[in-house]
């Protein structure tokens, strides 16, 4: 009977593990309130589509920047006083395109040039307190492969409570963008400078933002 229960747990774990693509795995602690059924909230207040259309030479040379294209707002409530700690990261998903370093090709308009790679897109994350890792600096998915991660608020050994507002001690405890806007709000700019080596066409990737509790 006990064996059957364990098997059931394993099956359910696998089942619910699939709900979140890697690397946003289920947390192992429950110090923070759930963002789905509980009172914590993870808002993305901007559209879910970010479109870059290159039609002119100056765009190929200078690139296109979409400022503030994504805005994330957090409201983190805790279950156990003082123990709620979270991590925020983003990772890139090319819909299992192979090789794994390339954008998913929707269509091509020519024959010359290479399929764009994942490290082409640049992202800049910032907020009023400068708490994101590498705040205000354009970064790329340097691993250049599917599910490569850029940490926004990394997993830290200690909890920095709301109101810290210190880039060296990023806020990662309970709090809300309603009361500590500059610590629980994150703005993301996107930039692509294609240059001249890519094959004309339409390409797609997905960028995931994962908020999860950490022990």
């Amino acid at each position: 009977m006990l064996m059957k229960k364990n098997l059931l747990f394993i099956l359910l774990g696998v089942l619910f593990g699939y709900l979140y693509p890697q690397p946003c795995t289920n947390p192992v602690t429950t110090n923070c309130s759930d963002a789905v059924a509980g009172t914590s909230r993870f808002y993305m207040s901007t559209p879910g589509n970010v479109d870059f259309v290159f039609t002119e030479m100056r765009q190929y040379i200078n690139g296109i920047t979409l400022s503030g294209a994504t805005q994330l707002r957090l409201k983190i409530d805790e279950n156990n006083g003082g123990n709620c700690k979270w991590r925020l990261m983003m990772y890139v998903d090319n819909n299992n395109t192979l090789p794994p370093n390339q954008w998913e090709t929707i269509n091509t308009y020519g024959n010359s040039g290479n399929i764009p790679e994942l490290d082409l897109i640049q992202v800049k994350v910032y907020n009023g307190c400068g708490t994101p890792l590498n705040s205000g600096v354009y970064q790329v998915f340097a691993g250049n492969t599917q599910y490569d991660i850029i940490d926004i608020i990394p997993e830290l050994p200690n909890i920095n409570p709301a109101g810290t507002c210190d880039p060296n001690n990023p806020t990662n405890g309970a709090g809300s963008y309603l009361t500590y806007y500059n610590e629980y709000n994150f703005t993301i700019d996107y930039r692509i400078i294609p240059g001249f080596r890519h094959r004309p066409g339409a390409y797609q990737i997905k960028i995931w933002f994962c908020l999860k509790e950490v022990p």
Binding site: L8, F9, L12, F16, Y20, C24, N26, P27, C32, D34, A35, V36, A37, G38, F42, T46, G48, N49, V50, D51, F52, V53, F54, T55, E56, M57, Y60, I61, A69, T70, C84, W86, D93, I106, Y109, G110, N111, S112, G113, N114, P116, Y190, P194, G195, F196, R197, H198, R199, P200, G201, A202, Y203, Q204, I205, K206, W208, F209, C210, L211, K212
Partner: protein, 258 residues
């Protein structure tokens, strides 16, 4: 009994799922779409009409040269070729607009290849070109030395059909070969004259000047007219070009490497 087991399992799953979702984890995503539309821009600085007026004996003998009469500037997001093509109503001879007199032994069939071009800088991407001349970079031969086809313009009645590998291109040639590093060898890589830094004393791969020359000679048989393989197209048979006004059209075609 069986139904109770099923209900029990469902209740268990529901409770367990509650435990799973009781943890702080959530995801959002954005779909990033990038559309790269091919851009090929050819900026040309040139007079609408380039006129050659032969009204002096020395012009007939020495020819007339129009230095840097055309400047070509390329910007392209894709690998590209550039060629010049002369054309006319029949695609082979100049169009005679006006005839001055009707002298015996004259002909109004002046070959389009009588027009010579000289380009700066030479074609850098013509690895698989097979013609005697891959471009128009040769210096004009002295006017008293016949050099059929060396600098003669490529001509065609179908100017938008790209020339074969045996014809002259200004940049690139027929073919899409790449080298071991993936770089094109039969077409210039995408880029722009705006940002390309040329070697000292040279132009970049995206900037060209074109000189024009016509040498009628006397009698006016246009001794330098010829095909790219060196076959002369000078007027023969004791004929000479009928005095008059003639026109032809020169097109510069920028296209994706093909």
């Amino acid at each position: 009994m069986r139904m109770r087991k099923v209900i029990g399992l469902l209740v268990g799953m529901f409770l367990l799922s509650g435990v799973t979702f009781g943890q702080l984890i959530d995801e959002k995503n954005v779909t990033v779409t990038m559309e790269l539309q091919p851009v090929l821009q050819l900026n040309m600085t040139t007079p609408d009409q380039i006129e050659f007026v032969f009204d002096d004996i020395k012009d007939y003998y020495g020819g007339i040269i129009k230095y840097a009469a055309t400047i070509l500037k390329v910007s392209s997001s894709v690998t590209w070729d550039l060629y010049a093509v002369g054309t006319s109503t029949n695609g082979q001879y100049w169009d005679q607009q006006v005839a001055y007199g009707s002298g015996a032994n004259s002909t109004n069939q002046i070959p389009l290849s009588a027009l010579e071009l000289r380009q700066y800088e030479p074609n850098q991407y013509a690895q698989d070109a097979t013609g005697a001349q891959v471009d128009y970079s040769n210096a004009f031969a002295p006017a008293n030395v016949a050099s059929p086809g060396i600098n003669s313009i490529y001509y065609s009645a179908a100017p938008y059909t790209a020339p074969g590998a045996d014809q002259k291109y200004i940049q690139g040639t027929k073919g899409t070969a790449i080298d071991a590093l993936g770089n094109p060898v039969d077409g210039a890589p995408g880029g722009s004259y705006l940002i390309s830094v040329p070697p000292a004393g040279s132009f970049s791969d995206y900037y060209f000047t074109i000189d024009y020359r016509i040498v009628p000679s006397l009698p006016a048989i246009f001794p330098n007219a010829g095909l790219n393989d060196g076959t002369s197209e000078a007027i023969t048979g004791g004929l000479y070009a009928q005095p008059g006004v003639y026109t032809m059209n020169v097109k510069y075609i920028l296209l994706e490497d093909q």
